[in-house]
Each structure stands twice: as structure tokens, then as C-alpha cells.
Symmetry: C2
Subunit: 236 residues, 2 copies
Amino acid sequence: MTQGHHNDDRRRAKRPRLTGQRLKTGKTKKDGDTERRILDGAHAVFVRRGTAGARMQEIATEAGVNQALLHYYFRNKEQLAQAAFERAAKGFMPAVVQVIASAGTLEDKVRRIIDLELDHLTRAPYLPGYIIGEVTHHPERAAQLVAAVTGLGPRELGPRVLGRLRRQIEAGVKAGAMRPMAPESFVINLLSLCIFPFAARPMIQAVLSMDDRRFGQFITRRHQDLPAFFMGALRP
Amino acid sequence: MTQGHHNDDRRRAKRPRLTGQRLKTGKTKKDGDTERRILDGAHAVFVRRGTAGARMQEIATEAGVNQALLHYYFRNKEQLAQAAFERAAKGFMPAVVQVIASAGTLEDKVRRIIDLELDHLTRAPYLPGYIIGEVTHHPERAAQLVAAVTGLGPRELGPRVLGRLRRQIEAGVKAGAMRPMAPESFVINLLSLCIFPFAARPMIQAVLSMDDRRFGQFITRRHQDLPAFFMGALRP
DNA sequence: ATGTATTTTAACTGTCCGATTAAATTAAAC
DNA sequence: GTTTAATTTAATCGGACAGTTAAAATACAT
């Protein structure tokens, strides 16, 4: 039940059983990606307004469909919000877990995570603000996010991912190449430096009176500087 | 108009002019701190639910007053939200600007800012999530936040605060004691490391399956480790 | 051609909720 | 004791909005 068949019982009315109609082309009528378009619209609106502030009509308009279809696919606003959040969460920390658990030196991992996060967040700049606001007001979504990001319960995260990282750090310490540090701190520090500037983007832009272009430049430069900054902090 | 008389035209009905009645004791009737209690209640509810998700009735209950009084003091929900946000914003980055602009070595400033932020956020752990969500969905609040935090427009921030920091960094570089770095990055990196763990708190707790107690311990340890981590990153 | 799933149109229901108002009550100030 | 402000009670208005439903339209599949 951790997997992604969140589509349990949509399309209720006028549709006793879902015999499925997408056979040859994989498309039903207009396109068949209607579900995706609705989720795209929902994502856009939820990010812009927040869950409570979003209006079903605005989502429908954004998706280029009518309000009734929203309820046809997703029973109600809450289920739509959950589906949209889950999809957003999947894209939030793309392959961070993979990278950390992978082979490769610490410096490699640091570099790859910074690349991953900054590239991704540049394309979805307001995602962190949305996710953070959402889990702040709906703590129950945190568990949902964990499932979406990892596909595993937290049980395997500790031993598996962090264990490997811990051993790598201990090896570095023993070799005199780095300072001792909890693996949790390692990850959180790194993600803080990557994600926070996007979460705080509106404030940063206001305080430093930056337009969007200059913020882009700021991130580009940050992309260059962060690896050295972080690796520098690891030295003993 | 930057100052705190945001109380312009409250108490409208049945009160043609505000001759003021708080003379001797400073308290009018019950207490006179009713405004504060309402703001406290509003703060609690807005943080818990977000602006759009908050209900006036819940705020009234939380404040121990009735709904009508909310409108008596603040015209409508929007004005109440603004007032609550502004007060919260004032406490968000307490004296960070002061510290940065003050005399003292860089290391002193780093240490004092970490103390300031972590102490404050420990007492108001969900403040960052609220603020971030708020400005994400209401970009116009960013300007409000700047005014609340600094009391100055962004014009004086650049030259004044960051100028001093820049000179300090340049001196350090020239002395071979630190790597070159934009003062903006200096501040943003430091605040990222301080604030993000609180903003992402529900996620961190879920992923690492931490209860509140262990999160507290985590922050305590972080308080000890952060200064060395950050100062280490500054070395050439 | 017929059946079935998808999508639209349109109207409607019920409710939640922000806002307004009037009137009564309380207490402080003078 | 009169005035004036603060606060409560209660009732109501009106709009916004989630959700429902029926019916028609569209197109695909067999």
C-alpha cells in the first residue's frame, strides 16, 4: 500500500466498473491525458494559492476543462489536493536518496546533489514554498511525502542510506580528511543550503530588491560556489 | 509611516473619535490588552491553518472573545491577517540586521546570529513554515515583511549593512584568513542553515522518525556544531 | 449501428463563513 | 449620576463555493 495506485475509486458516476477503454493507442478520446492535465492545473493553482486558498473553478480553468470533470476524476477537493501533493512530492527530492546511497566519494555526492536540486528547483522555483506551507498546516502530509519520496518506510532509511554515509564520514575522519559529523547533519546542512534560498525567494528578492533575472544569476553563481563552500566546511 | 501605528482606523462603529480612555492604569476595562489577546489568537490560528484556512470563529475562541469583537478591532479578516503577519515578521529575524551592521569580528557575528535565531525559533518552531507559506501565496507580503524587519526601505540595506560586511570579508581575504565571498551569500548561507531545519521540521521528523523531544536534542546539538561548521566553510 | 466511456453544459443544493447590525451589558472616567 | 467606551449576545444577510445531478454531446470500439 505504499505504491502509487492512488487511483483507487475515481470515475464513480455512470461508471459501475472500470473495464478500461484505453487499448490500442493508450488514448481514450480527446487525449486520455486528461488526468494529467487536471493534475497539472491543480498543481499550478495549489502552488499559487495553497490548498485552502485554491478554488476548484480556477483549477478547472487552468486545466482547460470544466468543474464537473474534476469531480468525475477525483471525488472531491481533498483527494485532488492529495494527488497533486503526492505528485509534487515525488519531484521534490528527485534522486537525492539514490545519490546518497550510491557508490562514489563524498565530494561526488555533494556535487551531484547540488546539481540535482538546483537544476530541478530552477525549473520549479515555488515548489519548496508550497511543500513547506503544506506540511506546516497539514502535518499528516509529511508521512505521505516520505512515502512518495522514498517508496520505503523510515525503517529502512536510517540503516540503509545513513549507515553508508556514516561509514564514509568515519573513514574520512580517520584519514584526517574531514571533521566528525552526524550523517543527518550532513544531509540537512546540504539540503538547507540548496533549498532554502528558493523557499525564501520572495523575501530575498524583496530585501535585496532583486528582479527575477538577477535571482537567476544569483542561483547560477550559487551553483558554482556551493560545492567548494560545503566541502570547505567538512575539512578538519 | 514605517512605524508601528498600524492602528489607523480601527474601532469604527460607535466610536466617532478616539479620545482615548486609557489614562491612569493604562487599562480601560477588562484589561486593555484585548488587542494583544486577539493578535495572539490570530497568530496561533494563522500559523496552524494558514491565512486562507483560518476561521474567524476559531480565532475568536482562541482569543477568548467573540467574533464581533474581531471586526470591532480589525475591520475584516484581511486586515487582521496583515496585522498578525506583521507582528510575526518583526519576531522572525529579531536583531539579525543589527548584529550584521554592528561592530565585532565576523566570528562574533556568526555566533550571535546563530544564538539569536536558534533560541528564538526554538520558542516559535512553526514560524518559518507560516512565513514561507504566506509570502509564497501572497508575494505582496514580502514588502511588508521587509518594512517590518528593517524599518527601512531596501535602499539603505545594500550600502549600509552589506557594505560593512563586504569590507570585513575583503579584509579577511587580504589577510589570507578566508575565501572570497559575496556578503549576500554569507548571510543567506548562514540563515539557510539556521532556519531551514525549522521550516522543514515536519518532514525531517517524518523521514528520520523523530519525536519532538529528539528534535529538540537535534537542535541543541546543532546549536553547538553550527558555528564551527560555518566558520570552517569560510577558510580559504 | 450500437453500446460505452468521456466530456460538456447548466442548473441547482446546501452549507460554511465573512460581515453587518441592533440592542443590551459592563465598567471606567469625570 | 451621567457619559462614554468596551464587550457581549444574537440574529441575520449575502455571497462564495464544494459538491450533485440530469441530460446532451462526442467519439471511440466492436
